[in-house]
């Protein structure tokens, strides 16, 4: 009897002692990212490309809405954005642009905080450094996207104005307030400086299979944009040159055509632009994921008039006077792009244009024309190369080419803000909605800035 009792007591004690070992098994069904490979795969998330600057789409003066298309907008906030409303989202709607950007910032923060101690597994130290560099570069890019959407443009007078929140730690309970525009730019540059040597040593020039992950060309592309936006044009020239040195591919629009001749809604004979994952011009993929067909986005008359409607392939391949349901929209033109997202990330044509603009702004007008011609010969049939006349004209041509090349991406709105911050004159725009109300967008107005949604401000009053 005593033996039995002893056995029992021992067995109970045994059961109680091994608890922590027994329990410290992390279930397989739930994956907890902890190795270099896991972090690599977190960076491989293709949805990082989704939903960038969608708020800017209808605010862009180059986009026009007829009564038909305005009424076809099912989301009230899009109509309000078209009217440059100061609170398009109200208390109930979610601002996906803000949410998604900070969601990925959380992931990049997670990687940055854990990468140094992460288990190497079957990966190399070089991969660790590449991933670390990417995470810093990605974080910088996200803040660049955010600050240009939700704040005034960087300038010496705007530098202390509120930008966006600077979230650098993993803290779900933080109640961050807005950092200044200057602080955000400082952080962007700091992150890019960390990323630069890491990517230079370990990354490819351009990540062809996952173009939403930065290569070296992408990093310099962003540095060029940052420099341009800050008005540091010499740096912009240097960095855009470097970027193009690493990667400068351009599609020749003469080499493809409409899938169904005469019907721009039928798509192209190449599918590279659908979803942009195969878009070889795209060096840092971020989509403006607004459907441009339901309802159709119309070109503003002013933008439509800029195109050479016969020879400019950007026009002939992407414009139509009927919408996808074959409803006539004349005298306006639809931006005819079905299954197509415009690219608000960094593309080679954008870097060509940055390079040209920076060159002309640093007095190298003819250099600007040279680089511009390289781009335009791929866009226009029977192209006759431009000849340098003077810097002022050249700058104007570059500005117009930016509008034509980067249409429906949100860049135009930011450029207008930027030109105003440089002290250049921009137009005052007006719009009318179907009820006949008239709205005006004055240069330098707060209406250029996407307001932080009331819902987020209610959750975190520090953002007011």
């Amino acid at each position: 009897m005593k033996k039995i009792l002893k056995t029992i007591i021992i067995s109970i004690i045994l059961v109680s002692c091994n608890n922590d070992n027994f329990l410290d098994v992390i279930p397989n069904g739930t994956l907890i990212p902890q190795t270099i490979e896991d972090f690599d795969k977190l960076l491989e998330d293709p949805f990082v490309t989704y939903g960038v600057w969608t708020n800017l789409n209808y605010m862009d003066p180059d986009l026009y809405m007829s009564d038909l298309t305005y009424n076809g907008l099912t989301d009230m906030e899009r109509q309000l954005q078209y009217e440059w409303d100061e609170s398009p989202y109200g208390l109930t709607k979610d601002d996906k642009d803000w949410i998604d950007r900070y969601k990925y910032i959380y992931i990049f923060n997670l990687i940055i905080s854990e990468i140094d101690n992460a288990d190497l597994g079957n990966r190399t130290e070089s991969e660790r450094n590449k991933i670390k560099g990417e995470a810093y570069a990605q974080r910088a890019f996200e803040y660049f996207i955010l600050v240009n959407e939700y704040a005034h443009h960087y300038s010496s007078s705007n530098i202390d104005l509120p930008g966006v929140s600077l979230s650098l730690e993993l803290d779900l309970d933080a109640k961050l307030s807005r950092a200044t525009i200057g602080e955000i730019y400082a952080q962007i540059e700091k992150d890019l400086d960390v990323a630069e040597p890491l990517l230079l040593e370990n990354a490819e020039d351009y990540n062809q299979t996952a173009n939403f992950r930065p290569g070296i060309a992408s990093l310099y592309g962003l540095k060029a944009l940052v420099a341009l936006y800050k008005g540091e044009f010499e740096n912009a020239v240097t960095f855009s040159d470097k970027s193009l040195e690493y990667y400068d591919y351009l599609y020749d629009y003469n080499t493809f055509s409409l899938a169904t001749p005469g019907n721009p809604w039928s798509g192209l004979t190449i599918q590279d632009f659908e979803g942009n994952y195969d878009n070889k011009e795209c060096i840092w993929n971020r989509n403006l994921k607004q459907t441009h067909f339901n309802p159709a986005s119309l070109y503003s008359t002013e933008l439509a008039d800029l195109y050479d409607k016969t020879n400019d392939l950007r026009w002939t391949l992407f414009s139509s006077q009927t919408n996808i349901d074959e409803v006539d929209v004349s005298p306006y033109f639809c931006f005819a792009a079905f299954n197509y997202y415009t690219q608000s990330g960094i593309t080679t044509p954008n870097i060509y244009l940055v390079n040209a603009e920076a060159k002309v702004r640093t007095g190298d007008g003819s250099g600007a024309i040279t680089i511009l011609n390289k781009l335009l010969e791929k866009r226009i049939t029977n192209f006759i190369p431009l000849v340098y006349a003077d810097d002022q004209t050249t700058l104007q041509v570059i500005k117009e080419e930016r509008r034509k090349e980067l249409r429906m991406t949100g860049y135009n709105l930011i450029d207008l803000k930027r030109y105003h911050a440089y002290g250049e004159s921009i137009d005052t725009y007006t719009r009318t909605n179907p009820s006949g109300e008239v709205f005006t967008l004055e240069p330098g107005s707060d209406k250029y800035v996407v307001p932080i949604s009331e819902k987020i401000k209610q959750i975190n009053p520090n953002l007011n």
């Binding site: 279930p27 397989n28 739930t30 994956l31 990212p33 491989e44 998330d45 994952y277």
Partner: protein
């Protein structure tokens, strides 16, 4: 003479059965174990006897039959074969007995259920000599402990003694006919007729009164009168009333505080014990919201359908903390303890066979009140008139289309083959469509009467060392859809072996094999068809359609591809149903083993082990006879290369799931009685591990006979290198695998103390830990506990004078129970995903959950007050319980600043309360020998309120769709628009807060919505009544719920259901100005054109919104109160005489009807348990016939 009284501790019925075999050998002694029962004066019964020269033992049988009493006698006193004759009508029992015994020196006494016959010689003698008979004996409990202070009283006198310290007594009785009553507090009293005995060895059973007087926590069995918690027990008799194959169905409505909530949309049934106490959606984690199911002491991982309901002895629901907190972190939602049958030691072999057949009434679609095909077509013509179709575009697109679209295209001259219809041809076609009725074909070709059969065999018996129970059941169900059926075998074995007085083993094995054929289509599929889409033509040939989304092409566009591939691209649901080959198979094995050792008196050690293994296989074969595979092959045919990318042949999709769990538990139980003090200590540890893995795979060109398939380059398909002719990737993954490993460790202790059977106290304490929870040391090993007290007032001296009070007991308990989900973890979590972007396949990790080191159990604090009573000789008994359950730290999605990375995070923060009461009443209205009428009522009230919740900001549409989650409101509630009818153009209006109608297109504010009340009934209950008349019994079970609301489903978004079956009332839609006076159903808007009535532009947007205000308005919210007669069962027990002739112990026939009556508060007669839709295929009447034989 040595004998054990305990052997005869039967309820009356069992004694009756025993008598048949044993009475002929009438023992030399006579004794009756008499339980407290509803006493009746049988001697008032009128008896009719007419016979000549019949054996007296046969005569006694007649008397037994007529009176329900049992005649016992000593064959030494009376020769059973003695012949007697008699002719008596309408006589009193006393008269009959006296005349039967008049020639003998015999007399009789009626003691409760017995007629005892004695020799009068001794009586006379004793009277004459005036001497007493000396008897002696010992009184013990069933464990062999002597009971000091037990009282022995001679019934009818004031004489009596008490036992000494060793339980012995010596006593003198007046005669052999004297009756002794032996009582001891906490034990059942016994009455014994002395007869010829002088030495008694009396074993008193603990006072369990009726079977329900014991409660089972799953860990322990406690006498009810010492338990302080809230237990609801459903005994075997009730469990046997229904014939469902699922044990849960058999307990519905029988237990207060247990609500069966039917999900309005999915039809799933949630069992809720005292309200919901978690906000985790059952769709996220079913286990986190359902009660814990415990079978014979262990929580089960497998499905409850692995249990044969006929093996279940009882079901106990543990409702409060004192009852349930021993189950710790799983008990928050209540615990349902299922105890299966086992044989007793020294039980004669018993064989039971039952068979059940049931048939369900057929499905009649006319109950749906759908529009006639003609009216439906008129509606389509109205849409056409309002510019809803672009036929030239549709014709060009090549997309599949409906019959009406085809007709319009032909009429418009847009048909690609150049055909054109005249107006007359079109009209003739409309007339043709108007005359067709698809529902008739669906009823004829796809449906049948559901039919179910069950055969159940069980064997049990026991010897001195060994007790055995085994059963086998086979169910075969044909569902109402032709092609769907399932069957089930369950084998259940349980053996207890007693090695010696101190050591015993129990081994159990339950094996279930379930197979389901899933080849038919659901009766609801008719909703997906146009009213004129009949299945077969006049010659019985299936009609080819080119209308479903999966076809991708219409008949004109498909023609070229069909010619090249030789594969027809049509679809027809009947053809698919006839050619489907889908099976599901489940094999579940549950084995357990327990060792019980009595270490010293009162101290027991028990070690138990359970292993469960489940294997699930689903095999789906899609041959080229099915449209699914035909279309896939045709779609992946490349015309330019004349190449099939997907092999032509059978697609095979398999799913395999393996799950296993093991559980080890060691417990020590110490019972000690020191005079009036009863102490019980129980402690143990438990470890548990659950693992499972699921794999899926898909093969093409599969040859079932040879198990071979044709190789395809899966990567090219998943990454989109190979797409179909439309450029779409092949849907459906290839190989997939997932697995999980969950581990738990627990330690627990309970203590019980009882003084003098008057005051009892209970306490429990348990610590659980799980590998998914509490990485923060503050929350690891968080204890869960309970305390409880009970007071048996009826055992107090001051209540003794009130003889009509048989029981009065107060209970109070308080404690903490927990709830856990396997879905959440304190670590940042990601999941593996694939995405084909362009030509690239991204294998990436999506971050799904942020890190939350503070994650912990949800907890519920339960306070329970209860009073149990039994009065008027137990004619009326019941209990009233009042409880308050406060659930804190509920896991809920909290809205957080998205700037921190997540818009919401699942954190322990919300809280909710459930308060309520439960009343159960049992009464026997009538009790006569031939007629008995029992009624049981249970009534529950539960008030559910969210007590703290982050004020989530919800849009109007959200609030109307899913109610408002807010403090002070019930978790599940309904909100609606304040609908104000139509304006002069048939457009919907809503009221603002002032009560003014707001024009269409003005935004509705949150405060203009109407709060309609809760969705879950606060009041619910059941009335169960059973009437026994002679050999017949009739049971009626009725359920009711009230105090809640439901939303009727309305087809408001015209477009979504256009071209399909629509309700008749849409005929009343606004069609012309002035209609707004008589209808509130909005007009069909125009598409992308001016509305000629209003002069305003209308678009697709309007069609989505117009209906919304109407269908989500208050007119579609109804009172959900209902009373349902769930079932009526008529039983007939074949008279014993007949049974004996065919050499069986008992034979019972039953007939049952399920769902015979429903009363609803809503005027439209919609069944509130059916999601507010009319349904011709749910809650149908089912007729069941059963036979049950005991050998």
């Amino acid at each position: 003479m040595k004998f054990k009284l305990s052997m005869f501790t039967f309820c009356g019925q069992k004694v009756k059965k025993m008598k048949v075999l044993h009475l002929k050998y009438a023992f030399a002694f006579l004794m009756c174990m008499i339980m407290q029962s509803f006493s009746t004066v049988y001697s008032q019964t009128k008896i009719n006897l007419e016979f000549t020269d019949k054996e007296i033992s046969e005569v006694f049988k007649d008397i037994e039959k007529q009176t329900g009493l049992i005649v016992v006698y000593n064959s030494a006193d009376l020769d059973p074969s003695k012949k007697v004759s008699m002719n008596i009508k309408n006589a009193n029992l006393n008269v009959v007995m006296r005349s039967l015994l008049k020639e003998e020196d015999l007399t009789f006494t009626i003691i409760d259920d017995f007629i005892a016959i004695f020799s009068t010689k001794s009586k006379n003698q004793s009277k004459a000599i005036q001497t007493f008979i000396e008897i002696n004996g010992v009184v013990k409990d069933s464990d062999g402990n002597s009971l000091p202070g037990a009282s022995i009283i001679e019934v009818g006198t004031s004489r009596g003694v008490t036992t000494d310290l060793n339980g012995n007594f010596t006593f003198k009785v007046r005669s052999k006919a004297s009756i002794l009553k032996i009582s001891y507090v906490g034990f059942k009293s016994q009455q014994i007729v002395v007869v010829n005995n002088t030495n008694f060895n009396i074993v008193l059973e603990e006072d369990e009164e009726l079977l329900r007087e014991v409660v089972v926590t799953g860990y322990q069995t406690l006498p009810l009168q010492r338990a302080t918690g809230s237990f609801a027990k459903i005994d075997n008799e009730l469990l046997q009333q229904r014939t469902s194959n699922n044990i849960l169905d058999r307990i519905e409505g029988f237990s207060p505080g247990v609500d069966f909530v039917k999900d309005l949309n999915t039809g799933r049934v949630d069992v809720r014990v005292r309200g919901i106490s978690s906000m985790i959606s059952p769709f996220t984690d079913e286990n986190a919201t359902r009660p814990l199911y415990v079978v014979d002491g262990f929580p089960i991982e497998g499905d409850l359908s692995t249990i044969n309901p006929d093996d279940v002895e009882s079901v106990t629901v543990l409702k409060d903390a004192s009852a349930a907190s021993i189950w710790g972190a799983k008990a928050s939602n209540g615990v349902i303890v299922i105890t299966t049958k086992k044989a007793a030691k020294n039980e004669k072999l018993k064989i039971n066979f039952s068979s059940i057949f049931s048939i369900t009434e057929n499905i009649n679609y006319s109950k749906m009140e759908w529009m006639s095909p003609s009216d439906n077509l008129d509606m389509i013509l109205e849409f056409e008139e309002k510019n809803w179709y672009n036929y030239s575009y549709l014709a060009q697109s090549g997309n599949p289309m409906s019959l009406t679209d085809e007709a319009f295209i032909l009429y418009n001259g847009d048909a690609p083959n150049g055909n054109q219809w005249s107006k007359a041809q079109l009209e003739a076609y409309w007339d043709e469509l108007r005359s067709r009725d698809a529902t008739k074909d669906y009823e004829k070709y796809l449906l049948r009467n559901a039919f179910q059969q069950t055969y159940n065999l069980s064997v049990s018996g026991g010897g001195e060392k060994n007790a055995f129970y085994g059963s086998f059941v086979f169910n075969d169900n044909l569902s109402s859809s032709i092609g769907n059926s399932n069957n089930r075998f369950i084998l259940n074995l349980r053996n207890t072996y007693k090695y010696n007085d101190n050591i015993s083993f129990t081994a159990g094995l339950n094996v279930s094999l379930r197979k389901a054929f899933d080849n038919g289509v659901s009766p609801a599929n008719v909703l997906l068809a146009a009213p004129w889409e009949i299945l077969v033509d006049d010659y019985g040939q299936t009609i080819p359609y080119y209308n479903s989304g999966t076809t991708l092409l219409n008949k004109w566009a498909a023609a070229e591809r069909e010619e090249l591939t030789g594969i027809s691209m049509h679809n027809n649901i009947l053809e698919d149903a006839r050619n489907s080959d889908i099976t599901n198979e489940n094999l579940d094995v549950r084995a357990n083993f327990a060792l019980e050792v009595k270490i010293i008196n009162g101290l027991k050690f028990k070690s138990s082990f359970q292993f469960e293994k489940g294997v699930y296989n689903r095999d789906e074969y899609y041959s080229m006879e099915t449209s699914r595979m035909r279309l896939k092959a045709a779609h992946f045919y490349d015309i330019s290369e004349d190449k099939f990318y997907l092999p032509v042949g059978t697609e095979y999709y398999m799913t395999k799931r393996n799950s296993q769990s093991w559980n080890i538990r060691n417990t020590l139980n110490w019972d000690k009685r020191i005079k009036k003090h009863n102490i019980n200590l129980f402690a143990g540890t438990e470890m548990r591990k659950i693992t499972y893995d699921i794999s899926r795979d898909r093969k093409y060109g599969y040859n079932k006979k040879q198990s071979t398939s044709v190789y395809i380059n899966e990567a090219d398909f998943t990454s989109g290198v190979i797409t179909n002719f439309r450029g779409y990737r092949l849907w459906g993954n290839f190989y997939e695998f997932e697995d999980d490993d969950i581990r738990e460790v627990s330690a627990f202790v309970t203590a019980g103390y009882d003084f003098d059977n008057k005051y009892s106290f209970n306490a429990s304490y348990r610590v659980d830990q799980k590998n998914l929870f509490g990485s923060d040391p503050d929350y690891r090993y968080k204890p869960l506990w309970s305390v409880g007290g009970g007071w048996n007032i009826h055992n107090e001296e001051f209540l003794k004078p009130y003889e009509w009070i048989n029981r009065l007991r107060l209970r109070v308990s308080y404690g903490l129970t927990g709830n856990a989900s396997n879905m959440f973890s304190p670590y940042a979590q990601a999941s593996n995903r694939n995405f084909a972007g362009g030509r690239n396949l991204y294998e990436y990790l999506a971050l799904t959950n942020p890190a939350n080191p503070h994650l912990r159990w949800e907890e519920t604090r339960v306070l329970n007050y209860a009073i149990d009573f039994s009065i008027f000789k137990n004619k009326l008994f019941g209990s009233l319980e009042i409880y308050s359950r406060k659930s804190n730290d509920l896991l809920s999605s909290r809205i957080i600043d998205p700037t921190n990375g997540f818009s919401s995070a699942l954190v322990n923060y919300a809280s909710m309360s459930n308060k309520g009461f439960e009343l159960s009443l049992n009464t026997s209205i009538l009790k006569k020998e031939d007629l008995r009428w029992d009624i049981t009522l249970n009534f529950s009230y539960n008030q559910n309120r969210v007590t703290s919740f982050d004020n989530a900001i919800s849009g109007v549409a959200n609030l109307v769709a899913s109610g408002e989650l807010a403090e002070g409101k019930p978790l599940e509630n309904i909100m609606s628009y304040n609908y104000a009818g139509l304006d002069e153009f048939g457009r919907p209006l809503t009221y603002d807060t002032e009560g003014n109608a707001k024009p269409y297109k003005s935004e509705v504010d949150v405060d203009e919505l109407l709060y309609q009340g809760e969705q879950i009934a606060p009041y619910y209950g059941g009335i169960n009544t059973k009437i026994y008349y002679k050999n017949f019994d009739l049971a009626i079970n009725l359920h009711f719920k009230f105090g809640h609301k439901f939303r009727e489903y309305a087809y408001g978004s015209y477009f979504a259901s256009l071209g399909r079956q629509l309700p008749t009332y849409l005929n009343n839609r606004w069609q012309q100005p002035g209609d707004e006076a008589t209808t509130d159903i909005p007009a069909i808007p125009y598409n992308q054109m001016l509305n000629p009535h209003s002069g305003e532009y209308e678009s697709k947007w309007d069609v989505f919104t117009t209906g919304e205000y109407w269908r989500m308005g208050q007119n579609f919210i109804h009172d959900a109160a209902f009373v349902r007669v769930k079932d009526i069962t008529l039983g007939y027990n074949i008279p014993r005489a007949i049974c004996e002739k065919i050499h069986i112990k008992g034979l019972r026939l039953t007939a049952q009807v399920t769902n015979p009556f429903l009363w609803t508060a809503n005027k439209k007669n919609l069944d509130p348990e059916l999601g507010g839709r009319k349904s011709a295929w749910s809650n149908l009447k089912t007729f069941t016939f059963g036979i049950n034989a005991t050998l």
